[in-house]
Amino acid sequence: MTMGTGADWALAVAVFFAAVVEVVEATTIVMAMGMTRSWRSAIVGTLTALVGLVIFTAVAGYALVNWLPEAALQLAIGGLLLIFGLQWLRKAILRSSGRKGLHDEAEIFAKQSAAARSADSRSMFGLDYFAFVVSLKGVFLEGVEVVFIVITFGLNAHNMPVAVTASVVAAVIVLVVAVAAHGPLTRVPENTLKYGVAVLLSTFGSFWLVEGLGIFRTGRSPLGWPGGNIALIVVLAGWLVLAQVLTRALRVPDTHGPALAAAGSGTVAAEEVNR
């Protein structure tokens, strides 16, 4: 594994923070199940999800590497990464402007714990069914997002070891802190992290999507941005400025509370506030 270039460091930082955000969310779910229902069932659910993620990673990675030419790979995963990034950026802007409730791990932990306490105590193979399924689902769903980001960044930057290492380090750090804190990780500045990661995902996603459009020209070579990889900095600055401008333009006064919560209808208000 080499960490020579600025691109490698950008890759590591992007994957690390994206993984931190996702692992914190998964950890909150598992801790809620463990502390209110059964640690054994929650841990078995987590390990089952991890096995599923390993299989998913192997299949998806093999398929992407062996079946798609480079430009098609950039187009496909650049497009998916961009959709991912823009979804995060949308939420980050709505949260920062006061139009959507902030992501709150303490609140999510309380909701998950309340649901766990009121659920039936059904057993399966000696395990608490509810704790097992909720932990499995939570870890798998959040894990797929991490796997997707790792594969996308690793393949496009031609440095899978850096991407994998960054995500593993993030997971280990979050788990160590969670064990030490023995509760939801409320001090992790998750909303700020999501804002930053959203800008990074949108940047790399748009850069690779446009490069990948070269698949449609003769020779199927990727399109080139003016200035090559230096253009990444300009694209990053562009998304950052746009996000800041939109956040300021859409900001609602604190005295009125989250406007969309009051609206009671529409796509944003209908969403789960803390998703």
Partner: protein, 74 residues
């Protein structure tokens, strides 16, 4: 059948997410780029143009959401 439906819903939620307009925006801009490239219109400014298109499409999608959920009387 319910497994297939669940499987399809999982991938729809995973890829398209909460706001289909953002996925549509990306597909539309990719389509515009595809049309330019297929037509042989490939200059150094094409990536810049497509980047601006993405920013505009994202802004429009976001503003539609905000407008659709504007509180009454404001």
């Amino acid at each position: 059948m319910s497994f297939l439906r669940g499987f399809g819903m999982f991938w729809y939620d995973f890829i398209v997410g909460d706001d289909w307009k953002l996925a549509a925006a990306v597909v539309v801009v990719a389509g515009i780029g595809c049309a330019f490239v297929s037509g042989g219109v490939v200059g150094p400014l094409l990536p810049v143009f497509l980047g601006v298109c993405l920013a505009v499409a994202f802004t429009i999608a976001l503003l539609i959401d905000v407008r659709a959920t504007k509180p009454k009387g404001s």
